[in-house]
Point group: C2
Chain length 552, copies 2
């Protein structure tokens, strides 16, 4: 009989798409599943990356025994370097994932780590947990679901998955293993909710191959194909089509170059001899014998293209007759900028192939009917929908209920939620710290909400700085007040406004002097109030006002 | 025989969605068609509205004889107040449009203007132009296409349109008039390209009524329905459904209240006695007898809802059992924030009805088959696709070619393009000034690209200000250098960084003093360079650095 309770604590990925990280804790043992990052929202000005708040793991450092990784996407491995910096424990992942992780850690100058390659079908003990990896399909090869056999029962976490009956590498999902686990009894299923709102089935990745062949048939000049650097199967299909149409392939974009190299080395990408060429060899071939594979430095497919569209790509200029294939769907929120990029490519003379109807991109996540199959295979006692915004989690919960999971066994939570399980019960039990940590340049966590709020105000309204040098112990200005603004108004056109603002501040100083006010805080706040009121009245804007006093 | 050429000059709406404005010029006569605005892109920080650059009209003030307006949407009437401020000429529009324009001009404190109500079917002379209005369908009633009979031939401008065979107000498009003009010969057609990429037909507005009835049938508590304030037909259907289901209707949001009032007064909205209630009367009725109509103050459907979702709406709090109907599609680029709003509404206990599959919203713009009908009716000699981003214009051009317009008679241009026509020729002939003028608070055009660029840098990297008071004619600091930052780093956590930055600046001043450098510009640039290099090395960020020197 188990003495302890199993705690399941998502630190990322609930109520959001991205920065996936889940803690599994039994007694003195913690295993972390995935260590992802997310990219900043529009209003997180200047932020490069967002990673989960890992303070719970740092506080419980001694208990953490391992990190297990489901697959090699940034939203599952992107914060691993930050985690290992704080809590350096062994990492377990499949072959391709290990290759991608090694690249990441090297980039982050992490040299001491223990990375263990696992195979689908392996089972091994880590503390109180028996851990196993199950092969699934996703938009990157070598993806896994992971299960834990614990003293209170078996937990299955799907990772990101779809059920592809005809995957490009021929390796279908190991449905049998899910069936076997389900047959023996599963306490808890945690399943990918990204496409929970989408009816039906997600199309097979191989459908894209057909769309590529159609586009290649119609193309008269060069073909430039943009996709996610991590989508090795997509890249394989592009290369296959290039071989079929006798085109040479040149690869652009740091992530794409790295991933292609890793995938070839590890045997996940099959490229016949003589197909790949170096970028500078392109001019040796006629336009209709060239395929350019491109992505951004972070693997974002539009980044390279948008530089080509703006005519400032280092080595590729769009020429009349180019065909551009965008094999990706815009990241939500980016639709406008993707549209602008397409417009600019077309203005430069390119023919652009993009859009859902053309089947030039398919999703890597299971739709409703596949989610039902997973629930039906695993038949869990408890269900936690993961990887999704709230409405997706909720929808996935409704699907689970339809599939026979008891309503009060469906647990929907947010990041930091502690889910507590015995072999017969499951419930929510409080919260631990969880949230967003901003990465900006070299800084991790040094930009917080106050700095972001300042950036938002600066962005919207600009800044007015008032400097004055006062005679020691008085409000008598020896120099200034000088008023300088940035992001507020054209100074040239606003001389009268600025002159009057100056007079207002001078008047405040006179009043302070007359009233014998000496505290800088009081003087500053009066300057700020007076100027703020005046500028709002004249312009209906509220710039950040920053009074600076010096004393001589 | 015509002596002059007809010039057609779009000042807005080409290569973009929004701020529609087109100039028609023959000899000494100019007519302006529409005067719209657009809303700012994400990267136009702090901007409230964008209007067309009207300098061509201001320079040719004496020639401008009239403004004709196709319909009452912001992107067609929103810059009229700014135009009339500069060029006060008579305005011609249909009844409802006149009502909406009056409201707009009042808001902008414009009291002297000549507004002429026209009827569909009217034809009248303005200078060299005989002008006529043709009834069309769109997502607002009383919409028009406008034609000009000129000495070189007839021009038809569709405005925004769709062909709705079963419009809510029963008034189908006047297809006969287009046929008649086509039969007599049309020199030039300018047609709406918004949906040129969309195959098939746009659904009739009445389809939404069915979706409303389904949602009302399923709703147990209050219904909160969000839509565009201008979509009077949509509002009519909401009210009809409320009457059918015996619900009282309360209206929220400045634009919605105004538009409903204008539409009722002018006879465009039919509301039975006793259906409308004041917001404060809601508590007299049970939840299942309430319909709340809501929109934002600028008519944007999500604005009111997002306040409710964030629990800070002035008078409506979401309660368990509310049904929220979002009868609108997200403005491109807003998908993420709409998703967040839906999540928050659901967390508060609301059932949310939204999305394309539910037919809860239909477009107001013609799809490809309707565009073909228009081309087939009008059979123009020349064709200019308007109202759309470049790829939409291009697609519309291809459709026109399919419909028999000669390839070199299809003219695709951008804002400011001058199109020149005789009775037998049409070509592009140079550009006039055209572009975006930013409205920020009370300022029109005082925020330009430099200010926006500053705001972008401030948003991304923040600002570091260095102030110092130097002894007259030296580089010897009497006070300072003081370093203040905003939007850069948490000052509390970065004391060491700031101290070292201070020492770097002090060292620069010493070097300047030693080198006898006295020019403030040189000192500032050395401070800026040194600090910029140091901070980038330490943080990989490039804040705006602003050195300020005072002298005593």
């Amino acid at each position: 009989m188990a003495k302890e309770k199993l705690l399941v604590i998502p630190l990322g990925g609930l109520g959001e798409i991205g920065k996936n990280m889940t803690v599994f804790q039994y007694g003195e043992d913690i295993i972390v599943l995935d260590a992802g990052l997310s990219f900043p929202d529009d209003d997180m000005f200047g932020i490069d990356l967002v990673i989960p708040d890992m303070s719970y793991l740092i506080e419980n450092k001694d208990k953490v025994k391992a990190v297990v990784i489901t697959h090699g996407h940034e939203d599952h491995i992107g914060s691993l370097a930050y985690l290992l910096n704080e809590v350096n424990v062994p990492v377990y992942a499949t072959k391709l994932v290990c290759g991608l992780i090694e690249g990441k850690l090297k980039e982050n100058h992490i040299t001491h780590y223990e990375l263990n390659e696992v195979h689908h079908g392996d089972e091994f003990q880590i503390g109180a947990f028996k851990v196993g990896f199950i092969h699934t399909n996703h938009s990157i090869p070598d993806a896994s679901a992971i299960f834990f056999k614990t003293p209170v029962g078996t937990v299955v976490h799907t990772g990101d998955f779809k059920i592809d009956q005809t995957p490009v590498d021929g390796l279908v999902m190991d449905i049998h293993k899910f069936a076997e686990l389900g047959h023996r009894g599963v306490l808890l299923l945690m399943s990918d909710s990204t496409n929970a709102e989408r009816p039906g089935y997600t199309e097979s990745e191989t459908i894209v191959g057909g769309a590529f062949r159609k586009a290649f048939t119609e193309a008269k000049g060069r073909i430039i194909l943009a996709t996610f650097a991590s989508n090795i199967s997509r890249i394989q299909q592009a290369i296959n089509t290039a071989v079929q149409f006798k085109r040479k392939v040149a690869v652009f974009g740091r992530s794409m170059v790295n991933n292609v190299q890793i995938a070839i080395e590890l045997g996940y990408l099959d490229v016949p001899q003589g197909v790949m060429i170096e970028p500078d060899e392109m001019n040796r071939y006629p336009a209709d014998q060239i395929l350019i594979l491109t992505t951004g430095s972070q693997g974002e497919p539009m980044a390279g293209l948008s530089r080509m569209a703006a005519n400032n790509h280092r080595s590729v200029s769009i020429i009349l007759g180019d065909t551009v294939i965008i094999s990706a769907s815009p990241i939500p929120g980016n639709e406008t900028s993707v549209g602008r990029t397409i417009d600019n490519l077309m203005k430069l003379g390119a023919n652009v192939v993009a859009g859902k109807e053309k089947k030039i991109h398919v999703s890597g996540h299971a739709s409703q009917e596949e989610l039902k199959i997973m629930l039906n295979l695993v038949r869990p006692k408890f269900f936690i929908p993961v990887h999704g915004e709230y409405r997706m989690l909720k929808k996935h919960g409704e699907i689970a209920e339809m599939m026979g999971v008891k309503k009060d066994h469906i647990l929907i939570g947010d990041n930091g939620q502690v889910f507590e399980f015995t072999n017969r019960s499951g419930k929510k039990a409080g919260h631990v710290n969880a949230g967003r940590v901003f990465v900006d340049g070299l800084g991790v966590g040094d930009v917080g909400n106050i700095v972001i709020r300042d950036r938002q105000q600066l962005a919207m309204e600009g800044m007015v700085i008032v400097v004055m040098t006062l005679a020691k112990g008085t409000c008598h200005p020896l120099a200034g007040p000088d008023i300088v603004s940035r992001g507020f108004v054209y100074v040239r056109d606003s001389e009268a406004l600025m002159n009057e603002a100056h007079d207002k501040v001078a008047a405040v100083l006179e009043r302070c002097e007359a009233g014998n006010i000496r505290e800088w805080a009081v003087i500053k706040s009066q300057v700020r109030d007076t100027l703020s009121r005046y500028l709002f009245e004249k312009t209906r804007r509220r710039p950040m006002i920053l009074p600076i006093i010096m004393e001589v």
